[in-house]
């Protein structure tokens, strides 16, 4: 029955000897570590071996980094890489032009629209790239047979131009659609599009302006992600390019360098793998940090 002012803060008893508060759960942790170690061996092992192959394959030459220095001088690599990068840039551009309006429309539209778009973006998964290539192949054959007298002939030949084959661009965009759509769509899921648009319109922005100034900046992360994955896809694409007879990056790695015993091509493939992984890792970490910062409640 003490008055308010007289009440003391609850007495703090002297802390007893603390026991280990973290239950170490020995058995599950051991299993987990074993799985991680075995996985590391399986995945890193071949990479290590291929690295060793690039530096120490020829007993006569011994340990040397010559494979890596040759990268800059070896025939065919740079044109092939340039072709791939050019195609990748074009693919990313076309993919964004097609998908960004789509992804916004899907978010604001009816569920039926969404089902249609999801179905369309699922189609390339149903037709394996080899089958698609077969279809393109026969289209080209018919074109060569039936188009010469028509005015389309010139365009047709141009599309297969070796320095920028539009035909490859079309195939790449189709192959990139499923993954890019899923990435952009889940990026849209993270923003409350309808509310943001209505707030922008309430502040005087027209619909188109609202989309450009409010939605797109919030999609930056997803766009970067989709762009990186598309880049990786184009750089690694082999099926369509090789069968149709072009030589972008991946095709050069497999076929390009006949003179060499394979150290240079292996070195190049190793580097491309590492660089792509580093880029995705940086994006993943910075994306996670950005999300954590935005989730922190205002103090």
């Amino acid at each position: 029955m003490a008055s308010v002012s007289a009440l003391n803060s609850p007495t703090t008893a002297a802390p007893k000897a603390s026991r280990s508060s973290r239950r170490s759960g020995g058995r599950p942790r051991f299993g987990r570590t074993a799985v991680l170690v075995i996985a590391a061996l399986y995945f890193i092992g071949p990479l290590v071996c291929s690295f060793l192959f690039t530096v120490d394959s020829d007993p006569a030459k011994g340990f040397t980094f010559s494979a890596y220095s040759q990268i800059f001088s070896v025939a065919g690599l740079w044109p092939a890489l340039q072709l791939s990068l050019l195609l990748a840039a074009a693919t990313i551009l076309v993919v964004f032009l097609l998908l960004i309006p789509t992804v916004i429309a899907v978010r604001l539209g009816s569920p039926r629209l969404r089902s249609v778009v999801e179905f369309v973006c699922m189609l390339p998964l149903v037709v394996p790239s080899i089958a698609l290539t077969a279809g393109i192949n026969i289209l080209l054959r018919w074109g060569t047979e039936y188009l010469p007298p028509t005015p389309f002939w010139v365009t047709f030949v141009d599309m297969q131009n070796g320095s920028f084959p539009v035909i490859l661009l079309l195939a790449y965009v189709v192959m990139a659609l499923p993954l890019a759509f899923r990435t952009l769509d889940s990026g849209m899921r993270a923003i409350d599009v309808r509310t943001l648009l209505e707030a922008a319109q309430n502040n005087g922005a027209g619909r188109a302006r609202a989309i450009v100034t409010v939605i797109l900046p919030n999609l930056r992360g997803a766009m970067l992600n989709a762009g990186m994955l598309t880049l990786a896809l184009v750089l690694g694409e082999f099926t369509v390019s090789s069968i149709l007879g072009y030589t972008p990056f991946a095709v050069w790695i497999v076929n390009g360098n006949a003179a060499d015993d394979g150290t240079v091509t292996t070195a190049v493939s190793l580097i491309s793998l590492m660089l792509t992984w580093a880029a995705l890792l940086v994006m993943s970490v910075s994306g996670g940090r950005r999300k954590a910062a935005s989730n922190k409640p205002a103090t």
């Binding site: 609850p10 802390p15 026991r19």
Partner: protein, 366 residues
């Protein structure tokens, strides 16, 4: 809810077990630099419903989870019926828990959810089914056994969760803010049902909530916590009328602070022109203090002469109207009057403010 009240035979376990007591002794827990519990000492009497009440981060959920076995204290003990269970793993404890949300297994229907614990104990299928149906009837959902969680409303899901928690006849029932995720009306109904069930089964229950109205209306005793410490543990009426600390006074219900002064006699305080006895004993004399008064204890009368306190705004709350009054020193207080009486005191009225001639609670000037 079924109209037929469950009979006593099904409600009370045939083997009337003695209700269990729970004791927290000196519990401490820190997560990195944040202290969740800073030495909690609390005893729960057999058969009582004790509410752990406090703002977010006060440690109430941590304490409950320590009883369930999901957290381990850095130091201190948890005792159930006098025996130390601090080292017992969670799946061997005898405390049924109802979580805040999403705790029903999505791939099992209601009956299988309720019978899950019995299945872990290898009870036979027929007996499991019978007991599950018995519990579904107890919580008022006898026809819902075949429904899946995604086919049930929030309130129904929590009833199933309650049935599941009671299936193994635990010695203690733990409820971790079970009503927070529900609509207001559903919350009211479920609140009464939980209390009714608890009293019928006479099961010792710990109930965590941040809603003081819930705690006050349901519990036998309420333990108010702040920053990992116990502020006061008492019956709801005592908590409301005789708060032990300023925090409790202001957390439970609304409390006015009116400037007052204690002179040479520490048993008397001067406030609003009155001299009133102090409730309790003061440590010092000759100081400025705050007098703590509930809004329903503020007496207002219309004043014919000008000057003095003025009603600045009124808030219609149904049976009661809350008036905001500005005192002469500029501070504002709240006064609750019956709506009938408040009709004569609209905003702008001059009033006199008086306190009843009773001992008042006093706190150091903030």
């Amino acid at each position: 809810m079924s109209n037929a009240a469950p009979t006593v035979a099904t409600a009370v376990p045939s083997d009337t077990e003695k209700s269990a007591s729970v004791e927290f002794r000196g519990l401490r827990r820190s997560f990195g630099s944040a202290t969740a519990l800073a030495g909690l000492d609390l005893t729960v009497q057999p058969g009582e419903l004790l509410a752990l009440l406090g703002p977010s981060g006060c440690g109430k959920t941590t304490a409950l989870r320590m009883l369930a076995g999901f957290e381990t204290p850095d130091s201190g003990e948890v005792l159930l019926d006098g025996e130390d269970i601090t080292g017992v793993p969670a799946h061997r404890r005898d405390a049924g828990m109802v979580f805040q949300s999403y705790s029903l297994f999505p791939h099992l229907n209601a009956r299988d959810n309720v019978a899950f614990g019995l299945r872990m104990r290898r009870v036979g299928t027929a007996e499991r089914r019978a007991r599950a149906d018995e519990l579904l009837e107890l919580v008022g959902l006898p026809q819902y056994g075949d429904r899946y969680p995604h086919q049930l409303s929030g309130g129904q899901q929590q009833r199933i969760a309650l049935a599941r928690a009671l299936a193994l006849r635990p010695r203690v029932l733990l409820l971790d803010e079970p009503l927070s995720a529900l609509d207001a009306k559903v919350r009211m109904n479920l609140r009464e049902e939980i209390r009714r069930l608890q009293q019928e089964l006479q099961i010792t229950t710990l109930f965590v909530t941040h809603d003081q109205e819930e705690a006050l209306s349901m519990a036998d005793r309420v333990a108010v916590m702040r920053d990992g410490r116990l502020e006061q543990c008492a019956t709801p009426s005592e908590l409301y009328a005789r708060p032990a600390t300023a925090f409790v006074a202001e957390f439970v219900g609304t409390m006015n602070r009116i400037a007052g002064h204690v002179g040479s006699d520490p048993a008397v305080v001067e406030v609003l022109g009155q001299r009133l006895p102090v409730d309790g004993t003061l440590s010092a004399a000759d100081t400025d203090v705050d007098v703590l008064v509930r809004p329903e204890n503020v007496l207002l009368e219309i004043r014919t002469s000008g000057g003095g306190p003025v009603v600045t705004s009124t808030s219609f709350l149904g049976a009661v109207t809350r008036l905001t009054v500005q005192l002469q020193d500029g501070s504002t207080i709240k006064a609750d009057l019956s709506t009938h009486d408040a009709a004569g005191l609209p905003a702008g009225s001059s009033v006199t403010v008086r306190l009843p001639e009773r001992p008042v609670l006093v706190d150091t000037r903030s």
